[in-house]
Symmetry: C2
Subunit: 460 residues, 2 copies
């Protein structure tokens, strides 16, 4: 069925906003038949995006308007809060039905969202095979290779010939068990993984060739307990599109495909951004204002209680400040610049540790580098600052005291900013948890203390 | 050649640190033969990582120790600063040789790093076909689909049968023109793209079946001028592993594969993180301290000059501060908390705009949401603050003035933080450029002014 070029999905055709507008109109006018048709022409990923831009009521209506098959495609694409909302409303039976239709990894993700009591009711009612798959996948840590993998695999014995392997692929395809097949995995009689056959090699091989002659034994295998961030690094490093997952005993248990890795990379990057910005793991699509505020409050409390120490520092210099108020004026500049230097250093170190570009044995080298970069910029800003103070206050001594303190504060901030992520990594914590608010607060308090000590000693 | 399970590359075998240590020892003892053997056993991605952890001298020695073929594999995997360093040392002839061996997209990336004069000299000496490919790719914006794509494609006519397509793949493979083939693209006589054949479908089809019967016409095509961030979103949304790139006239020009998209996602996320952290586009692997310091200085200057306004605000309240020094003590808390609230709001909005989770027509809804979340947390922190002040100063009026001002400052910070990224997006700028230092500085100045106005008016 050759088709016109127009049938190829144009990527820049109707924007989400236009689709949203059309759908909303159809719903408002209760033209449900037309809405159903409209949705039928969209890709499931498009429907999912559209649904998350709707209100809760409309979202539920749209989901009900979809064909059952389309529901199965759309549900895994939705954001978690939306999935939970829909699941709340569906009967146990319907959920069980959905789980049976989904790929094992998607089914496990959905089942993982259910309350324990609902989940065990639902799973009891599903087919034994599907239940076991979901339960097996749920037994892995959600953020490990096991939590990422799907169990659907095409395997052949190492005694097979190419034609056998092709027939196995055909059967798997006809049974609709597995959609995207990149490799056929070759197992020995103990079910240990011997290698893999790419579909491309299989297509080009003569039918009678033993698979043992065309398999690739030097593939990269992922251990089921490996952290997903490390799995993503391996996919990036070796440009993988699919990788087999093995248990510690070398038994093949599943496979991870690059589409899930792309999501992991995005999620991990967003998590790092969230920590730097002090919103933690708050989802952009979080609908509960209460949950959003709760996700952010800890960072604000860190800032609040930490800065109370700044208040103490200032209060302990009450007499000095009363006689020399001018040094108080410059406090915002000093702590803002130092805070920024600290965040700069920590940002670079957090990024480098996350991508693996900074190896842990470079700790001191890297801190040294950050100090030098901080120092160079400290000199520039301090000279500017001294110039401004001289022009404004016509007081060389104040200019010297303030700008000299600023350099010291900046260097300390560069050290703190670089050191905290390394320290976290050393103690097996995620360096990204050296959040922006925490580093800013630390530098504010230390910086303010150093500034007050230096300036008052020089000037009084 | 069936191999033992041990031959499968174990992912958690020798760490980078151990490899680094071994290699360094071999180099120090000038055991170059052993070093060459050691390198010969490593994957090229591993060698690239290892090289970037070495000093400049060792890096050059290691590169020279590699087989030519291995050099071709390793070079594209290196970080840009390392690539530039190596290219500086290679002869024009050798660079031309490398360009001829690389895939078109890698060749164009490498050629793009050369100074214009070197590049034209090198390209003049390379084969016409390779030169044209590189020049064609360099004509696209580096951050567009055209800049990402490779020109290597396997295509067949829409009149062909399955067997023809398979033979075309076989030839392309034997000519070593293209390594990873996921699809064969089907063209009509005007070279317009009619659809694609997956290798899987091709393998399962009878040899005599016309390709027009098995092609998938509903594929997603990417326009060559599309921004790479948008390309990445499309890959993520539709779970693609490869996509054809077409010109505006519908002519197929190249393909983008998911391994490059994975890098785009990582790079774009790092860029966002870099702006939030005030380091801009500084590379973690940047070796020049001068360039690192120059990348960061603009943000520090923004903070510095911005905060001079804070100094002006404070100085204009000199008399009030002299009589009521206690309100100065609380300034660090007020600006730190407000600064964090602003960064929290902007982080969520920047993330949402980057992933497309926040559509632009939700601007006011979103800003409203951020204000409410800020207000809820503002109440919590302000009550705590009031409590602390009452216990410490035993002054209800000061407690009220300070904590009431704090709520106002927080709400303003939430509005500013959420608004700036939206405004940038509206004016076609990257919302991520609403960097942390800029938002913090803006909120510091506005917050301080509001705090001083409110507290002095209430208390004096």
């Amino acid at each position: 069925m050759p088709e016109d070029i127009q049938k190829i999905i144009p990527v820049d055709s109707p924007s989400l906003e236009e689709l949203h507008h059309t759908l909303n109109e159809l719903l408002e006018e209760e033209k449900f038949k037309e809405a159903r048709e409209f949705l039928g022409n969209l890709h499931h990923a498009e429907i999912a995006r559209l649904m998350s831009s709707l209100g809760a009521l409309e979202r539920n209506i749209v989901f009900d308007l979809l064909e059952k098959e389309s529901q199965h495609d759309v549900l895994p694409e939705l954001e978690e809060p939306d999935q939970e909302e829909l699941l709340d409303r569906l009967s146990d039976e319907r959920i069980g039905d959905i789980l049976e239709q989904l790929d094992s990894d998607d089914a496990a993700d959905i089942a993982g969202l259910l309350d324990e009591s609902v989940r065990s009711r639902v799973l009891e009612a599903t087919e034994a095979e599907d239940r076991e798959e979901v339960e097996k996948l749920l037994s892995y840590d959600e953020e490990s290779a096991g939590g990422l993998m799907a169990l659907e695999l095409v395997t052949v014995s190492d005694k097979a010939i190419a034609r056998d392997a092709i027939e196995t692929v055909r059967k798997a395809r006809e049974a609709e068990e597995i959609e995207d097949i990149h490799y056929v995995y070759v197992l020995d009689h103990e079910l240990h993984l011997k290698g893999r056959l790419s579909i491309l090699d299989l297509m080009l091989a003569p039918g009678k060739q033993p698979v043992s002659e065309i398999l690739d034994p030097d593939m990269i295998t992922i251990s089921s307990d490996l952290d997903q961030e490390e799995v993503a690094r391996i996919f990036r490093r070796y440009d993988l599109i699919s990788a087999p997952v093995v248990e510690n005993d070398g038994k093949l248990v599943g496979r991870i495909t690059v589409d899930d890795i792309v999501d992991v990379i995005q999620d991990e990057a967003e998590e790092d951004l969230g920590f730097l910005g002090g919103v933690g793991e708050e989802e952009v699509s979080e609908r509960s204002l209460f949950r959003a505020s709760r996700a952010r409050l800890p960072w604000l409390l860190i800032a609040f209680f930490g800065e109370l120490l700044s208040v103490l520092v200032l209060a302990s210099y009450e007499t000095e400040l009363a006689t020399l108020l001018v040094i108080a004026f410059f406090i915002p500049v000093v702590i803002a610049v130092a805070g920024n230097v600290g965040i700069q250093s920590s940002t670079i170190v957090v990024r480098g540790l996350a991508t693996g570009d900074i190896p842990l044995h470079h700790t001191f080298k890297r801190i040294g580098r950050e100090v030098i970069v901080g120092f160079i910029n400290g000199i520039v800003i301090s000279l500017l600052f001294a110039g401004v103070i001289i022009l404004w206050q016509r007081d060389l001594k104040v200019a010297f005291a303030v700008s000299f303190s600023l350099i010291c504060v900046i260097v300390i901030a560069a050290v703190t900013g670089a050191m905290i992520p390394f320290a976290l990594k050393k103690f097996k914590q995620d360096p990204a948890h050296a959040s922006g608010p925490f580093i800013t607060m630390t530098n504010d308090v230390i910086g303010l203390a150093v500034y007050m000590i230096l300036t008052t000693n020089i000037l009084l």
